[in-house]
């Protein structure tokens, strides 16, 4: 797994018996490599590097428009096996109990900056108008896989709970603890957040089916988010609660998501 803790491994300087120029070049290389490692440990410097995401997000909004649609594919493109990543089976006792009860006791809570907080059972969600889409899932690691999703558009649920004017972000709260069992007791449950553009986007779906079958546990049963214009880590699995907020810097690590708190960019459209 990827963690932000970085130890500074400084390469040893090259032995002599080389020409002066080569030694000098090697020296420059060694110093700059060690320099890059030192800079990677400097929080202020890394913040400067990460500021490029605002430039990317702004430029992307400019050239694609808020409602631009992600590419959809045909049935023939669907992968035989949809690769699952991250948590494969949440070990959390409350999730295990819900799983044992086939999610009959599960409810999706929606609250925070809304007029009428509400909770929906899986049957409630399945009774609502649905959207089916075949899309490509792009993992931050670099691979892609294509799957067919069916679910309820997040915009449909938001229309029912009526967000307040100061609601700026939608926060997804999940069932799965990410850090090892030895760290149970501290909250490491997965969470994610998106802005209102993505929340109301036509393809932003809370999916309960993958490839015409109930969503498997490996892929986030009973419900997961599809945020089709961003990388996989934004697509929160094992949804329990949706919270509307004005800002997310008070939540956990303050970066807007589990992986964001571990160094990844909040804007994952790249």
């Amino acid at each position: 797994m990827i963690r932000k803790t970085i130890s500074s491994g400084r390469p040893k300087t090259a032995p002599s018996r080389r020409t002066a120029l080569r030694a000098a070049l090697a020296g420059v290389g060694t110093v700059s490599l060690a320099g890059c490692d030192r800079l990677s440990n400097n929080a202020a410097f890394v913040d400067v590097l990460k500021s490029a995401q605002h430039l990317s997000h702004g430029a992307h909004k400019l050239v694609t428009g808020r409602k631009a649609m992600a590419q959809e594919f045909s049935q023939a493109d669907v992968a035989a096996h949809f690769k699952a990543n991250g948590t494969l089976v949440p070990r959390d006792a409350d999730y295990q109990a819900l799983l044992k009860g086939e999610f009959k006791e599960w409810k999706l809570q929606i609250d925070g900056l809304v007029e009428t907080p509400a909770a929906f059972t899986l049957a409630d969600l399945r009774a609502m108008p649905s959207r089916t889409q075949i899309t490509r899932h792009d993992c931050v690691e670099g691979w892609s896989t294509i799957g067919k999703w069916k679910g309820v558009q997040l915009s449909h649920l938001l229309d029912q709970v009526k967000p307040l004017p100061n609601a700026k972000f939608v926060v997804f709260r999940c069932a799965d603890s990410m850090d090892g069992p030895s760290l149970d007791g501290h909250d490491s449950k997965y969470y994610e957040s998106v802005d209102m553009d993505d929340a109301y986007h036509l393809q932003t779906v809370l999916a309960y089916e993958l490839n015409d079958k109930p969503l498997p546990v490996n892929n986030g049963a009973p419900l997961r988010a599809r945020i089709e214009r961003q990388l996989g880590y934004k697509h929160a699995k094992y949804l329990m609660r949706i919270e509307l907020v004005e800002r997310f810097d008070q939540i956990r690590g303050g970066q807007g998501g589990y992986w964001e708190d571990n160094g990844y960019e909040w804007y994952a459209g790249i």
Partner: protein, 278 residues
Amino acid sequence: MTSPAPTPKRIYRHRLPVRVMHWINVICLTILLMSGLQIFNAHPALYWGKDSSFDKPWVSIGALNTGNGGVTGITTIAGHRFSTDGVLGASKIGGEGANVVRAFPSWATIPSTQSLALGRNWHFFFAWLFVLNGIAYVAYAVASGHLTRDLLPTRSELRNIGRSIKDHLLFRHETGEAAKRYNVLQNLAYLAVIFGLLPLVIVAGMAMSPRLDAVFTGWIELLGGRQSARTLHFLAAAGLLLFLLVHVFEVLISGAWNQIRSMVTGWYALPADKKVKS
């Protein structure tokens, strides 16, 4: 050379904007290549097509257990397996300790330890700097006449390309008047990089962005799909690395000090003309 060399004629070869942009490129390209390898290490396999055919990548870098608790690095290209132990697939961190499983070794990545998040942080910041610098360079090259005057080869230079190839293979370099201009192979290499490899590496990089894929539906199919785009991004980067190695090699064998100084101060000492005039 026994007789004292005459004071070489000096020309003002590289103007300030070109020098500044050149060194920005050096920093950006180095960081982009090395942070790119860090990102590649998160999933060290390449595919062709829209998505990943996990069971048959055309390139993959991995490791096998050696049975005694150790690992050995293996690279597979188009079904052929090569032992690349110590460099690709398994290598020592900082040259010390036991082999660990790692596609590209620690000396080739930024940061040296495994961190996809930091690799991306570095990569995207310097990608922006690199692209903005590149746009500024092309604008300057067109507006100042650098493109037509220095970069485009003349017809007669193109006709004599055979001689230029022979000169390069014999490590012979222009002297006197001829050394004032870039030679024709140099022209073609620079043009191929500026208008071929660099646009390709940028467009293929953008095609990996799920948000930019939405600019208009299906444009990345022109590159063969997202996983083909990732492969093309990697191959174009490999092409840039090859250019870089040849470029540095040519600098080193054609009067390294004079060449490097000219890219710092602008002034280039013309190598004395040793040719017999006919």
